[in-house]
Each structure stands twice: as structure tokens, then as C-alpha cells.
């Protein structure tokens, strides 16, 4: 590849932006007694370093689970342990049992930020670069532009480097991306291994497991379940089981251990949603207090059913016709699906950016916007505005998104053709989407301005954050419909193209 240097430049820009964002404050800085997610991460280092493995997930006099107890899968804990060894080498005070609670200093902040950067550099960034290089049918320039936009995606940068979430999202996302990469390049075993690691790093990745499962199953069916497909299926199953066993080995010694870890990972008693989150439940809550009306387990079942139902059509299709593009689309749709789900935490991947640049950019902008209340709380207004603008500019210049709003570019051709059979006057679709985009951007900008400048009325202190959730949720609903349409009508257009060629 002749333009390798441009790829290096893109990676360097991504790294520079990440590091400059990390100079800002983090969640819970100087806010005793609980501090924030930053302290959680530090606390886990303290716990994993000082206590034996058996006590990590159990409440004890040394390990108060109420104070940022470990509630992520074992791989996260191992990672914390690794960081703790480095911390021990630099300054043992940082991870001293009990006494280090709420430890804050410039040097320590620097250390924590560096651990994020290194994890990112080792796992997420190579995955993104390799993914972009493996994209088929596009020019080198587009590949590089794609990498730039993915690396500049502000949501991930702000959460990992600004807010400092209590988990390294880039690691879990990076593993998941390696999984996607492996599966789409036909290295199925490697892909499933990477994906298992992702699940073992962050249980949230389980949401992605359904498309993975369906896709791989579909592949096996395609090869014929009696011959090669069966061999593949067995191999895959072995890989998955082996990687899980490996990760959970210290916890399999006793039954109680395993159960306790699982209980910590899936805290079903936490309720439908925690904070102001841009998902359906939270927005709905404004009109009807579901949380108070329904008992916990019904909430759980309800949200699970909704999620499953909204995913089902795409998954069935994926099983029957496994194609790597459909696979990526399903993954993306998943993110909009998550708004039906339980707690917040959703981090979209820009997997289809090069295929439907307009809609993807829009979607990613909305997703960043929905994080606004969280970021404001951490005094990250400046970096979030700047990175969002940078991302927007990068997308606009590298994909010229405004020129790609025709029906074909939005992949809505076959859909509008089939609608026109019943409604002949249905020709305004692409124009309508453009206006919708404009309206949505203007609302987001206005709402941001209002949140920053105006004080909310005393009766409704959460007015603006609820509004932000509501607006983002409306947008996400729209995307949900859109992506469903695309997936459903996808194969038809594919067949049409084949006929033409």
C-alpha cells in the first residue's frame, strides 16, 4: 500500500486527540465519599492486587462491595491486576489496601490515563486499522478516510479518556471488532475466540452475541450440516468453551464462586434504568412511571422480550442468508435496539460508515449527543463540543455526505420502489430525510446551548437532561425503523443488481 503514511498520520491524529482529551477532568474528581468511575477502576486494582482471587467477588471486611465492588467478568479483573503490578512498581501508595481510598494526584491521573492509552493502542486501534484495510471494493483513500472517522468517533474518546468509565470500553470493543474482522475474513475460530474474550471483558457484549451466533450458524448450514459444516460447528463450539473455561478457571473451583460472579455480573435487581438514559423506558417514564407500577421481574421479562422480538427478524434472515454485509448491518441495528434494553451503556461502532455515510454520521452524532448530561456533569463540555465538531468535519470532508442523500445512496431504492406500487406519489423520501437531518441537528445544537446557558426551572431540575434523552430516543426510534427497512429490503436490491450485471 503506497499510502501507508497517511494511515500512520490518521492513527497519530487519533492518538493525539485521545491524549489531549485525557488532560481534562474525570468523573468524580474531588467528590468524596464515593468519587466516580475513576476511583472504581483504581479500587479494583487495589482489590485484585491485595486479595486472593477467591475473595474478589465476595463481600468481606477487606472488600466492601457497596463501595465500587467488582461487577465485570474475570478478564477485566485480570487487566486490573496487571495494571496494579505496574502501579506497585511506580508508587505502592496508589494501591495500598484501605488507605488508598479516594487517592488522587496528578501523577496518578497520568498513570491511569496512560493505561487507557496503552490498552487502546494494543487492542482497539490495530483492530480498526486492520478492519479498514480489509474493507472490500473501496479505494485506499476511502479506507483511510474511514479509519479517520472511526478513530475520531467522539463518544468512545470522551467516555474512555474524559469521563474515564470504570471499564476500558476500547478493550471490549476492540476484541469485538477483532471478532467481526475474523468472522468476515473467514477466520472463524480466531473471530469467535476474540469475541469470547470481549464477552469475558464486558458482559455487555452479550448483546452482540446473537448476531454472531446466527451468522456462524448460518455459515455452518451453508456448508452443509452433515459434512464440513458440522466439523466447523464442533470446532467453533470447542473454541468457545475452551476460551470461557480458560478465563473462568480460578472461579470454577467451587460452585458458590461461579454463582457469586454471575450474580455480580447480572444485577437484575438494579431496575429498568439507572440515570437519565436515552432509551425507550426512560423517555416513557415521563408519561407513565413504569418503574413504580410494575414489579422488578416483570420489567426484566418485558424488556428482554421486546429486545428479542425487535432483533428476531434480522437474526432469522442472517441465519438463512449469511453475508458479511448483512452481519455488519445487524450489529449496527443492535445498537439502536439496545434502547429497548435494560441499563444504559451503549457504544455504537461505525462499521457501516463507508456504505451509508449519511445515516451513519447522523446516528453517531445523535449517540454522542445523548451522552451530553453525563459529560456536563464531568465538566467535559469543551472537549465534547470540539471532538464532535472535528468528527463531523472529518465525515463531511471525507465522505461528502451531503451529496450522498439519493435513494440509492441511502440504500432505500428497493424500499421506495415497493412502496410506490401502492402509493405512486411517494417520491419525496430522500428530501424528507434531508430535512429530518437538519431538524435533528438544529434541535441538538439548540438543546446543547440551552443546557449550557440556562438554569432549569426549580420545579424541574432535570428538565434539560430529560429533554436530551427524549430527543435522542426519538432519533433512535427512527434509526431502528430505518435499519430494519434496510436489512429487510437488502437482499432484493442485491438480487436486482445481480440480474443487471
Amino acid at each position: 500500500m503506497e499510502k501507508w503514511y497517511l494511515m500512520t498520520i490518521v492513527v497519530l491524529i487519533g492518538l493525539t486527540v485521545r491524549w489531549t482529551v485525557s488532560l481534562n477532568s474525570y468523573s468524580g474528581a474531588g467528590k468524596p465519599p464515593m468519587f466516580g468511575d475513576y476511583e472504581a477502576q483504581r479500587h479494583w486494582q487495589e482489590i485484585t492486587f491485595n486479595l486472593p482471587v477467591k475473595q474478589w467477588y465476595f463481600n468481606s471486611s477487606d472488600n466492601n462491595l457497596q463501595y465500587w465492588g467488582l461487577d465485570y467478568p474475570p478478564l477485566t479483573a485480570y487487566h486490573s491486576l496487571l495494571c496494579a503490578y505496574v502501579a506497585k512498581f511506580i508508587n505502592p501508595d496508589w494501591i495500598a489496601l484501605h488507605t488508598s481510598r479516594g487517592y488522587e494526584s496528578q501523577a496518578h491521573k497520568l498513570f491511569m490515563r496512560t493505561t487507557v492509552l496503552i490498552a487502546d493502542l494494543l487492542i482497539y486501534i490495530p483492530a480498526v486499522v486492520l478492519y479498514c484495510c480489509c474493507l472490500k471494493d473501496i479505494s485506499t483513500k476511502k479506507k483511510i478516510a474511514n479509519a479517520l472517522c472511526i478513530l475520531l468517533y467522539p463518544g468512545l474518546i470522551l467516555i474512555d479518556y474524559g469521563h474515564f468509565q470504570n471499564i476500558y470500553n476500547s478493550v471490549s470493543l476492540g476484541f469485538a471488532l477483532w471478532g467481526v474482522l475474523g468472522v468476515s475474513c473467514d477466520w472463524d475460530l480466531l473471530g469467535s475466540l476474540a469475541f469470547c474474550l470481549a464477552i469475558n471483558y464486558k458482559q455487555m457484549e452479550l448483546y452482540h452475541s446473537l448476531p454472531f451466533f446466527c451468522f456462524l450458524l448460518g455459515k455452518c448450514f451453508k456448508k452443509g450440516l452433515k459434512g464440513k459444516g458440522f466439523v466447523l460447528l464442533v470446532k467453533l463450539a470447542c473454541t468457545v468453551v475452551a476460551s470461557f473455561v480458560l478465563c473462568w478457571l480460578p472461579f470454577f473451583t467451587e460452585r458458590e464462586q461461579t454463582l457469586q460472579v454471575l450474580r455480580r455480573l447480572f444485577p437484575v435487581d438494579r431496575g429498568l434504568f439507572e440515570d437519565k438514559v436515552a432509551n425507550i423506558w426512560c423517555s416513557f417514564n415521563v408519561f407513565l412511571k413504569i418503574r413504580d407500577i410494575l414489579p422488578r421481574h416483570i420489567q426484566l421479562i418485558m424488556s428482554f422480550c421486546f429486545t428479542f422480538l425487535s432483533l428476531l427478524p434480522a437474526c432469522i434472515k442472517l441465519t438463512l442468508q449469511p453475508s458479511s454485509k448483512g452481519f455488519r448491518l445487524t450489529l449496527l441495528k443492535l445498537y439502536s435496539v439496545i434502547l429497548f434494553f435494560f441499563l444504559y451503556h451503549f457504544r455504537p461502532v461505525c462499521l457501516v460508515l463507508s456504505e451509508i455515510p449519511f445515516m451513519s454520521t447522523w446516528f453517531l452524532l445523535v449517540s454522542t449527543f445523548s451522552l451530553l448530561p453525563l459529560l456536563l456533569k464531568d465538566e467535559l463540555l469543551m472537549p465534547s463540543v470540539v471532538t464532535t465538531m472535528a468528527f463531523f468535519i472529518a465525515c463531511v470532508t471525507s465522505f461528502s455526505i451531503f451529496e450522498k442523500t439519493s435513494e440509492e445512496e441511502l440504500q432505500l431504492k428497493s424500499f421506495s420502489i415497493s412502496v410506490r406500487k401502492y402509493l405512486p406519489c411517494f417520491t419525496f423520501l430522500s428530501r424528507m430525510i434531508q430535512y429530518l437531518f437538519l431538524i435533528s441537528v438544529i434541535t441538538m445544537v439548540l438543546l446543547t446551548l440551552m443546557t449550557v446557558t440556562l438554569d432549569p426551572p426549580q420545579k424541574l431540575p432535570d428538565l434539560f437532561s430529560v429533554l436530551v434523552c427524549f430527543v435522542s430516543c426519538l432519533n433512535f426510534l427512527f434509526f431502528l425503523v430505518y435499519f430494519n427497512i434496510i436489512i429487510m429490503w437488502d437482499s432484493k436490491s442485491g438480487r436486482n443488481q445481480k440480474k443487471i450485471s
Binding site: K3, Y5, L6, T8, I9, L12, I13, L15, T16, V17, W19, T20, V21, L23, N24, Q106, A107, L110, L117, K141, M382, P383, V386, T387, M389, A390, I393, A394, V396, T397, S400, F402, E403, Q434, Y435, L438
Partner: protein, 557 residues
């Protein structure tokens, strides 16, 4: 929607580059800032709260006003915006005051003033020869030049981390250079008059006719204004003076390129003089009326400082000092020198301004002045006897800046930017210049590293440096891929040596026992290593200027 599309500038790479770097500057706001931040805050306070008569006398803070009057007026205007941010920063006695609002205001004022720089870069790009346009956008000289200027590593860290207002000053300089290149109405002069090797291809008479229309007056005006903003630009004033005299006041050349004495135009000399005089009158007039000119000048030119800054700028004197040090160590070992006679001042320790030489003779301000003049002279002669159009002027300007950097008194390492930025314009036009440019920028930028010594900025400076260096080397290599390689093995080896040097200075040295014994060692190494590269680039550029045939003698191609 259509209007929005245009506003967003689909495919407009220049605005994307400019906006991108502006956003990066905004991200740099929370980074470390040096004492220059307090310097400028103090100046804001002085100009805001004191009458003009006291501007150059006020000495509450140690950071007295030592820039020319236009800069003081600039601070005065800024202070009237500043009062809406934080009134407290405008108090002269409020030393070392830095609230978050003050920080925001000061940082944003630098970012905002860079609009002028962006405009100047835009104008400069118009002067670039557009003939060798590749199909790819990233291979166009214009694109490369605008990245080299807009994303310049030195400017980014000096202005937006270290804190200074160089951006808009360099903007003024580039603007005046661009005006010397441009004709009224038609911007792309060089494409018509110069061929791809930067030599004039039109007959001299036609060049004369075109030259008539160049916007020399505007260029002279901008430069005069610039001089009254910051007097460091005096270093390049000889190039401006000689070029304007030779190419503007004499309207014609003989066919062999030498001067035609009877073509002297008095009108032009007088109009040029008038422009310079009026600008100076506007700036210095009030102080002349107050009878304060001597005081102003004593503030502007303090010769009480030492030969070298606390951290040696990588120039000739750094090599000289190092040689002295080496000789004294050898002398002590071989018992030639008496240890009791050696002055105890530890060099580059930060506080000591005066460096006493032990073996070699000490250097006085007068010596440096003479050295500088001698170094500048040949390039000026070249400009006079072998005029090569605006490009020749640009090379002479770079040489002036470099020579004074090499031999000047109390030179700051930041002054290297004065050579790097004009040199960028040359680098995209000719392979030879590109190779000199790359050596100069890489070593020059690396020599800025000690400016940022705090841990959080370490990744930033390394990342940005890598970003700029990799980009400049790769893009210029792509641009000139048909010509011979840009570096020979020696230059490649030297440039690659910067990597291990950085690793040693920042990552290995702090963990060794030398840290206590020789705390100045990393600075010394950096300074001497970079001095070698910069001297080499200076020498190479000089040779290429002297060897290049004059315009008239080149065969028309």
C-alpha cells in the same frame, strides 16, 4: 439545505484543514503554559490600567513590556475584551494571576488571532506553481504546503502550549511575502513567469511589465507593520530592503541579468519610504512626542542578557560553548589547566545567564553582531547581483533568518520558526530545497522539545512531532519521487539518530545516576546535536544559493 451544503464546504479541503487544526488548538487549552502566559497577562494589565506615558516605565512585574508599540496597542485592544471575561486579570499588582476564565480568554485570543495566519496561508497557496498537479489531492503542492504551514509543529507548541502570539505575526509576514509574489488581479504570477524549476522563462521585458503590477507596496506595508509588532523580524529586514530596492525601485535589468542603472525610479523609492515612514510615525510618534524614545529602545534591545539563553539555542555558539567545555575537560585531564582558575558557574543550569568560557575567548555582543553581518552579507550580495525573482528573495530571507539564528546574541530556540516557515514555501517547489527544509525542520522542531518538560505534555509533543515529521517527509518524497532521493545515507543516519537521543534524554537518563551529577546533560546533548543539523542545513542552503546561476544566464528551456 443547499445553503447549508455550501456552508459546510463539501470537499473544500482547505477549510477542513484550517478548522481541524483550530479544533486541535481548542483541545490544547488545558495544557501546560509557560511564564509567557503571565508576561502577556501583565502586558494586558499595563496597557489597560496605565496611561501611555507609563507603558514602557512600569516595572512592578519582572516581565516588563519589551515589544514595540503596535504590540502594546494590540494588548490594549485585547484588554477591552478581556474585561468581560475577568476584571481581575487587568490589575497590574495581581502577579501570577490565572483563573480559569483568564486562561480561556488568553488561549482563545491566540486561537482567534490565528485567523490572520490562516488567511495568509491561503494567499500563499495561491502563489504556488500549480502545473505539477498530481491527480490525487494529497499530492498537490498546494495541499502539502497548507498542511506544512497550518499544522506546523513549532507554531502549535510555541503558541498553543507554551503560549505566545506568533501565529498572527507570522501571518503578517507570510501575507507580505505573498503580496510580493502576487500581481494585482491575477494571483498566479509564478505559473506565468517561473518554470517548474523556479526560474524565469519569460523575456526580461515581459517580466518587467508583469513586475510593474506586483503588489510590492502592500508587501512593504505589511512588513513595516510587522516590524512594529515584534522587532525580532529586523533579522530579515535586510532581505526585504535589498529586494525592494533591486526589484521594485529599478524597473529593468540588462539582458544578462545585471542592473540597469538608468532605470531607477524615484517615485517608487519615495512611495516606499513614505509607507515605512508613516507606519513608523504611527507607532513611535506618540513616544517621540513624550520624549521617551530612548527608554523604549532600551526596553526593546536589552544587551544585558547572556550570550546564550538558559537552554542553548542550537546555533553556532552552542557548538562553541560545547567545544570550550570539551577543551577544558581535556585540559584538566592533561593538567594543562589549573583547576583553581576555572570559573565555577555550571552551564545551562537554568539560572545562570552568563556563561564564562575557560579556554576559548569570550564572546561580546559586538562580536556576534559582526559575525551575523558577515554571515548575512553574501546572501544579500546574491540578491543584488543575481536576482531570481520572488523565489530568490525567499531564499535570501530564509538565509538571513538562519544566519542571525546561527550567530545572534541571546537567541531563543523559538527563533528557528522564522526560518522554517518561509522555507516551507520553497520546499514544495524544488527537490533540493525540500531536502534542506526537511533537515532544518526536523532538527529545528526537535530542538523545541525542552520547551515542554512536564510529563502530561510529553506524549503530546512526541505525537505531534511524529505527525508533522512523518507527514512532511513522506509527502515531499511522494511529490519529488521522480527525482533523486531527498537524503543521502549520512543525512538519513543523522535524522534517525534523533529517535535514540529522545529515548535517552526523556526515558533513560532520569533513571541513571547521572541525573544528580550532570542535570544539564540532556539539554546539552539536544542542543549540540541539533546545532550540528541546523549548521549543516544552513551551510547547504548557502551553497545552493551561491552556486545557482543567475536568471539571465540560464538557457531558456
Amino acid at each position: 439545505m443547499a445553503a447549508f451544503t455550501i456552508a459546510a464546504g463539501t470537499g473544500n479541503w482547505f477549510s477542513a484543514l484550517a478548522l481541524g487544526v483550530t479544533l486541535l488548538k481548542c483541545l490544547l487549552i488545558p495544557t501546560y503554559h509557560s511564564t509567557d502566559f503571565e508576561v502577556h497577562r501583565n502586558w494586558l494589565a499595563i496597557t489597560h490600567s496605565l496611561p501611555i506615558s507609563q507603558w514602557y516605565y512600569e516595572a512592578t512585574s519582572e516581565w516588563t513590556l519589551d515589544y514595540p508599540p503596535f504590540f502594546a496597542w494590540f494588548e490594549y485592544i485585547l484588554s477591552h475584551v478581556a474585561k468581560y471575561f475577568d476584571q481581575e486579570m487587568l490589575n497590574v499588582r495581581n502577579l501570577n494571576y490565572s483563573s480559569s476564565r483568564t486562561l480561556l480568554f488568553q488561549r482563545f485570543s491566540v486561537i482567534f488571532m490565528d485567523v490572520l495566519f490562516v488567511y495568509a496561508v491561503h494567499e500563499c497557496c495561491k502563489c504556488i506553481d500549480g502545473k505539477k498537479v498530481g491527480k490525487e489531492l494529497t499530492e498537490k503542492p498546494k495541499f502539502i504546503l497548507s498542511v506544512l504551514l497550518l499544522w506546523n509543529f513549532g507554531l502549535l507548541i510555541v503558541d498553543h502550549i507554551h503560549f505566545q502570539y506568533n501565529g498572527f505575526l507570522f501571518g503578517l509576514m507570510l501575507l507580505s511575502i505573498a503580496r510580493l509574489f502576487q500581481r494585482q488581479g491575477l494571483p498566479i504570477l509564478s505559473r506565468l513567469v517561473l518554470n517548474s524549476r523556479g526560474q524565469a522563462i519569460l523575456p526580461p521585458r515581459l517580466t518587467k511589465v508583469l513586475g510593474l503590477q506586483k503588489r510590492h507596496m502592500e508587501g512593504a506595508f505589511f512588513f513595516a507593520v510587522l516590524l512594529h509588532f515584534k522587532h525580532i523580524y529586523l533579522y530579515v529586514a535586510p532581505a526585504y530592503g535589498v529586494y525592494l530596492l533591486r526589484s521594485y525601485c529599478f524597473t529593468a535589468n540588462k539582458p544578462d541579468g545585471s542592473i540597469r542603472w538608468n532605470s531607477f525610479s524615484f517615485v517608487r523609492v519615495i512611495s516606499l519610504g513614505l509607507v515605512v515612514f508613516l507606519v513608523s510615525a504611527l507607532s513611535l510618534g506618540p513616544f517621540l512626542a513624550l520624549n521617551q524614545l530612548p527608554q523604549v529602545f532600551s526596553r526593546l534591545f536589552p544587551f544585558k542578557r547572556g550570550l546564550c539563553h538558559a537552554y542553548w539555542a542550537p546555533n553556532f555558539w552552542a557548538l562553541y560553548n560545547a567545544l570550550d567545555k570539551v577543551l577544558s575537560v581535556i585540559g584538566l585531564k592533561l593538567k594543562f589547566l589549573d583547576p583553581n582558575n576555572i570559573p565555577k558557574a555550571s552551564m545551562t543550569s537554568g539560572l545562570v545567564q552568563q556563561f564564562q568560557h575557560t579556554v576559548l575567548p569570550s564572546v561580546t555582543p559586538l562580536t556576534t553582531l559582526i559575525c551575523t553581518l558577515i554571515a548575512i552579507l553574501p546572501s544579500i550580495f546574491c540578491l543584488w547581483f543575481k536576482p531570481q525573482g520572488p523565489r530568490g528573495f525567499l531564499r535570501c530571507l530564509t538565509l538571513c533568518a538562519l544566519s542571525s539564528f546561527m550567530f545572534g546574541w541571546h537567541v531563543h530556540e523559538k527563533a528557528i520558526l522564522l526560518a522554517i516557515l518561509p522555507m516551507s514555501l520553497l520546499s514544495v517547489q524544488k527537490a533540493g530545497d525540500a531536502s534542506i527544509f526537511l533537515i532544518l525542520t526536523t532538527t529545528g522542531h526537535y530542538s523545541l522539545f525542552p520547551l515542554l518538560f512536564t510529563a502530561p505534555e510529553l506524549p503530546i509533543k512526541i505525537l505531534l512531532m511524529l505527525l508533522f515529521t512523518i507527514y512532511s517527509i513522506s509527502s515531499l518524497k511522494t511529490l519529488f519521487r521522480k527525482e533523486k532521493p531527498l537524503f543521502n545515507w549520512m543525512e538519513t543516519f543523522y535524522l534517525l539518530g534523533l529517535g535514540p537521543l529522545e529515548v535517552f534524554c526523556e526515558f533513560v537518563f532520569p533513571f541513571t545516576s547521572w541525573k544528580v551529577k550532570y542535570p544539564f546533560l540532556p539539554l546539552l546533548l539536544t542542543s549540540v546535536y541539533c546545532a550540528v543539523g541546523i549548521t549543516y542545513a544552513w551551510f547547504k542552503l548557502y551553497v545552493s544559493v551561491l552556486i545557482d546561476p543567475p536568471v539571465g544566464k540560464t538557457k531558456k528551456q
